[in-house]
């Protein structure tokens, strides 16, 4: 019997399991219960998107904490507590707010295990929302994960499905390194899958082959996996068979699955909602250029937004986000490319 639930529900199940499983797991963040110190409800929001609703009444204020709007203190507290025996899950409402606490992530959490000669562990998970599409404009809509992929010592998780989100979240909290868990806000309700009721884990560094095909490999992340599927359906009718790979984690990155697929198809399109310069799409393109050059039968295409801030006006934001038409065009270009024949 299929049990179709949303990514929001899948993550809620993961949190419940993790909190019940291990008393060392704590949660902290802005409004994750909602209403601390206020005259009304003490579980008013359950997080900005309602993902942590019900956890504070169940597990108490000593394990589920509303915090002031103090991102450095939130992340520093979570990181420090992780080095002292807890396994905190900190929520940083939007990845756009990372700027105000970046030091605690890039110089503190990321460095401890290496810098202290392997004699420290920092089992902290930092959850944060990414992605455009909600008219949130320039400071609430970014996909800044490439900033974190760049830094050694951090693991970066970007689920595209409800099933993956649950298994990867449980794996993240079990992991002894700092993990940033990027949740695409557009997927909380739109990503729906058959998800087992029981707990399970998905190992980091294992890509998922979302769709099998033989003509073109599409590597996509988060919401772009769904955009790629839409494009693949259209292209199938045109006789172009796409294989879609979702890396699921970008640190570590499952290079083998990508290279094996390109060895089969000879053609690669990477779809990345992050800004184009130095993004994950470019990184994967470089990987294939270096290690899969002999397999390539066409130039690699990377479909990304333009190198602009995320605009507000719906017409502009819609034009900013890569869509199925842009992905399909890129696939057609690589599928029809011939040496000396231009496009």
């Amino acid at each position: 019997m299929a049990r179709i639930i949303t990514m929001r529900q899948a993550l809620q199940e993961a949190f419940l399991h993790l909190m019940e499983e291990d008393p060392r797991v704590i949660m902290l963040g802005e409004d994750i219960a909602g209403g601390e110190g206020s005259p009304g409800s003490q579980d008013a929001w359950g997080g900005d998107m309602g993902l942590t609703k019900g956890l504070q009444p169940r597990f108490g204020k000593s394990r589920v904490m509303d915090t002031p709007i103090s991102e450095s203190a939130i992340i520093g507290t979570a990181v420090g507590a992780a080095t002292c025996g807890l396994r905190p899950i900190a929520e940083l409402m939007f990845v756009d707010f990372m700027g105000v606490c970046f030091d605690q992530i890039m110089n503190q959490a990321a460095k401890f295990r290496y810098m202290f000669g392997g004699r420290a562990e920092t089992p902290v998970v930092i959850r944060t929302q990414i992605g455009a599409g909600y008219r949130g404009a320039a400071q609430h809509s970014q996909c800044l994960y490439p900033l974190f992929t760049h830094i050694p010592g951090i693991k970066c998780v970007i689920p595209s499905s409800a099933y993956d989100a649950k298994g990867l979240m449980i794996e993240a909290v079990h992991d002894n390194d700092p993990v940033i868990f990027f949740e695409h806000k557009f997927l909380y309700d739109s990503a729906r899958d058959d998800v087992p009721e029981e707990a399970y884990t998905i190992p980091f560094g294992e890509a998922s082959i979302v769709r099998e095909g033989g003509d073109v490999t599409i590597v996509a992340l988060a919401r772009m996996v769904h955009v790629a599927r839409e494009a693949a359906s259209v292209l199938e009718r045109e006789g172009i068979s796409c294989e879609i790979i979702d890396p699921r984690t970008i640190s570590p990155l499952d290079e083998d699955t990508i290279l094996e697929s390109v060895a089969k198809t000879g053609r690669l399109v990477v779809v990345d909602e992050a800004y184009p310069r130095c993004n994950v799409g470019k990184d994967i393109a470089a990987l294939v250029a270096q290690q899969g050059f002999a397999d390539l039968r066409a130039p690699v295409e990377v479909v990304s937004p333009p190198h602009t801030p995320v605009p507000f006006a719906p017409e502009l934001e819609d034009a900013f986000i890569p869509d199925a038409a842009k992905v399909a065009d890129a696939v057609r270009r690589v599928a029809g490319w011939q040496r000396g024949g231009g496009k």
Partner: protein
């Protein structure tokens, strides 16, 4: 004025003096070896400030945590880090306390509750909130102490942490070691309210300013703050007014300092001499035992330095251990 030193037993006094002497000798030996060009990188010496580290840490147990600054050698020794291992770390040996991967600014030993020297000014206060949070959730009675300088006192991370610790009543103590200079910039100019301690009431926590040349003053203030934290009374801000005998880092020309300032500090405000005079005048210890400690510490430090110089070097394979590497 009752003599607060009376509260310490002769053994405790000898222990405190030995640790202060160890820190001083450690720093003097680092200074000497750096001048000879034997040390990679750069070092920030704590000489002159020993009474602060030892006055605070002598109240702490292994369950308690501290976090330090770029000027961290003294805090490490006061919290019980292995001195031989520290010397090997500073010289970059694979037998160093962090296997040669951290260096002077990142010495840590979590098994001793030393969460690390920290080369980011203002990096420590948020982390100590985590140590306090962990102690609270685990119910282990532990206390966290963040050592920060006057420079770090002006960081936004520090302000967030003071507020955060106060509202959660975390068992932490913020020790601001005001040595008068953030690199070259005077604290008297950079701290808007004059004294750092004046910020405590604004964050709703007790604050106290102490003479950092006086071990007993630091010891008394820290004892009270740590006991309050341990009993669930929340955080305290302590401003320790002290000085450094050396520059910001070794090689600093120190032209920003007053004429004769360092010489005057060394002759009139050496916390080790002040401690010594105090306990001898009170008849609590005899000079012979302190001299014996001095000789012993100097001898042992020579051995640590020699062993560090001869210690094995890291091998290239260590470059990619202790971290996830994908490229």
């Amino acid at each position: 004025m009752p003599d607060s030193s009376i509260k310490l037993t002769p053994d405790q006094l000898l222990g405190a003096y030995r640790t202060m002497r160890e820190i001083r000798e450690f720093e003097e030996s680092v200074h000497a070896e750096f001048e000879k060009g034997h040390l990679p990188g750069f070092v920030h010496l704590y000489a002159g400030s020993e009474a602060s580290a030892v006055g605070v840490c002598s109240h702490l147990t292994p369950v308690d945590k501290i976090i330090s600054t770029h000027r961290g050698h003294g805090h490490c020794i006061a919290k019980g880090c292995d001195i031989g291992g520290m010397w090997k770390e500073i010289i970059g040996s694979s037998e160093g306390i962090c296997r040669g991967k951290g260096g002077s600014m990142h010495i840590a030993d979590l098994s001793k509750g030393m969460l690390g020297a920290n080369a980011i000014v203002g990096g420590g206060p948020p982390l100590i909130c985590g140590a306090g949070m962990a102690a609270k959730v685990l119910g282990n009675g532990g206390v966290g102490v963040a050592f920060t300088g006057d420079g770090g006192s002006n960081q936004g991370t520090t302000f967030e942490s003071l507020n955060f610790a106060a509202i959660f009543k975390l068992p932490v103590v913020f020790v601001f070691e005001n040595n008068g200079y953030a690199e070259t910039t005077a604290a008297s100019w950079s701290v808007s309210c004059g004294d750092i301690v004046n910020r405590a009431p604004a964050f709703g926590m007790p604050g106290v300013q102490v003479d950092g040349f006086d071990f007993f003053a630091v010891h008394a203030a820290a004892g009270e703050a740590i006991a309050r934290a341990r009993a669930g009374g929340g955080p305290t801000l302590i401003e320790v007014k002290l000085a450094r005998f050396y520059g910001h880092h070794e090689g600093d020309n120190q032209s920003y300092r007053g004429e004769g300032e360092v010489e005057r500090l060394r002759s009139e405000q050496d916390c080790l001499n002040i401690f010594r005079d105090r306990v001898l005048q009170a008849g609590l210890l005899d000079a012979g035992r302190l001299d014996e400690i001095d000789r012993d510490v100097v001898e042992k430090m020579k051995t640590h330095v020699e062993q560090a110089k001869a210690a094995p070097r890291p091998t290239p394979d260590m470059l990619t251990t202790d971290v996830y590497v994908s490229y």
